[in-house]
Amino acid sequence: MAKQLPKRDLENVGLGVTGACVALVTLVVAALIFMVAQKGLSAFFKDGVSIVEFFTGTKWDLANTAENGLPYTGALPLIVTSFAVMVLSTLIALPIAIGSAIFAVEIQPKFGSKVFQPLIELLTGIPSVVFGLIGFHVVVGLMKSVFHVSTGLGILPGAIVLAVMILPTMTTLSVDGLRAVPDSYRQGSLALGYTRWQTIWHVVLKSAMPSLMTAVILGMTRAFGETLAVRMVIGGIEAMPTSLLSPASTITTTLTTSMAVYAEGSAQDDVLWALGLLLMGMSLIFILIIHLIGRKGAKARG
């Protein structure tokens, strides 16, 4: 039994076992990054897909081949749609998230922590396909009857569904950020004769800015990577969107429908991995931004 082991050995066992866990996770992540990068980059270096074409071309069609024998791999429509959906959903969710966070922290703190927060956390737990299902039946129908469009599928319903999905993430983090502002700031401001609203606007929000920005970025990360809920309401046409209610396709939805259709190692398959690499690159950039904000915030606070 463990008791018979000398103390130092025991300590080494502990270090070894836990260290192995960490090493395993790190290795898996490294393998994942390496593999996605390798598969994705081989589209450009092995199959000869032009990087410029990939980022600026507007024609995406893997089923047909152009004169050079390669499929049409202009991913710009997918990139534009992904960003459009992300930005639009953030614009919808942001005021609501920060507004309700202010209410839950500054105006009705008791109601906020006892009723509002548990309710919002309930939203986090709802699976994304359920959001998609509601989007497919309710939001799409709403689009049809409000805007008199033929299918009701497109970027706008996608953004609305995503806005509801990222709302809990953004709200919860904003609430945490506002709670972290020391009460002395508020008291000082009120003592100077500011109203509650002025205090919130000029003092609380300003000093909570880094955490609020982190909340926004994390919401955007989730919106950028969300797949199935968007697939159910966006229409799935890989072409440059002409309006908010024209069917489109994001990077993730293209992956869902095209992945595993083409043989492994084919140019089509590799280009899809390049899309995966792009998704991974974006999430790494988001992490980087969050770190930069954190560092800046720490510096500002001294």
Binding site: T18, A20, C21, V28, A30, I107, I134, G225, T256, F286
Partner: protein, 308 residues
Amino acid sequence: MASTRIHIDEARLGRVQRQDRIATGVLTAIVAIVMLIVVSMVAYILFEGISTLFQPGFLTQPARANGTQGGVLYQLFDSFYLLLITLIISVPISLGGAVFLVEYAPDGPIRDIASTAIETLSSLPSIVVGMFGFLVFSVQLGWKYSIISGAVALTMFNIPILVRVIQQALEDVPQAQRDACLAMGLTRWEATLHILIPEAMPAIVTGIVLSAGRVFGEAAALLFTSGMSSPVRLNFLSFNLSSPTCAWNVFRPGESLAVHIYKIYGEGSPEAQQIVWGTAALLMICVLLFNVVARIVGKQLARRMTAE
């Protein structure tokens, strides 16, 4: 700025107070709308799905005709089975990882690298994890569409969540406890095993159950790993783990409730639509149960520990 003026302008004061009232009003309206959305969403799903849920056979029959008829027995079982295997793999690894990061990792490059890796994993879109799982487990390792492929993909999705929760729980144990243990001559390992982990247990259990809720509803990572179908017939009493009809065989394909919804949401027949809503209601009730259970278990454990 107003504060630099000593003379207070009456009109200005009035405006400022009005501003305050308007802002409060707007915020109240926003919160009301958010709450309305949450409540109406939940109510809508339950309203649409609850009648199917109580229909005889929905929970006790397998799906027929590609999921557009019959029940969701196998999907329900597969969801829990996937979750179970995911937890069996991910909990020990996460626990070890978190202990290392909190108790052993010297502040330095190792800790930084490991934290970055875990953070990267947590921010990856689940579809990317699914693609990786498909390539490595389903194709290269030859596991095909199987429960085990799906569970490993879910593990990758679950580990960052668990590590963070457990790390937080361990960090919340007062430093004095650690110092006391070490002062008594316990090794770090013994201190962790016998004192720190038990102390952090309520928070750890709550975290695990909450993460289970998220795993339970995940679909994108499963599309290409555990597949979009469950065997037509399963034998729950067979323990011949190599038999394709054995429910407990981890190498058979499986389909979770969430994937099932994605598979048949577009099917037009009224019966299929009923099944979709019933499945959605079932999925949501399960996830809500996880939330409630997490809270109750956490509280119970905490109470038992403080009572000692």
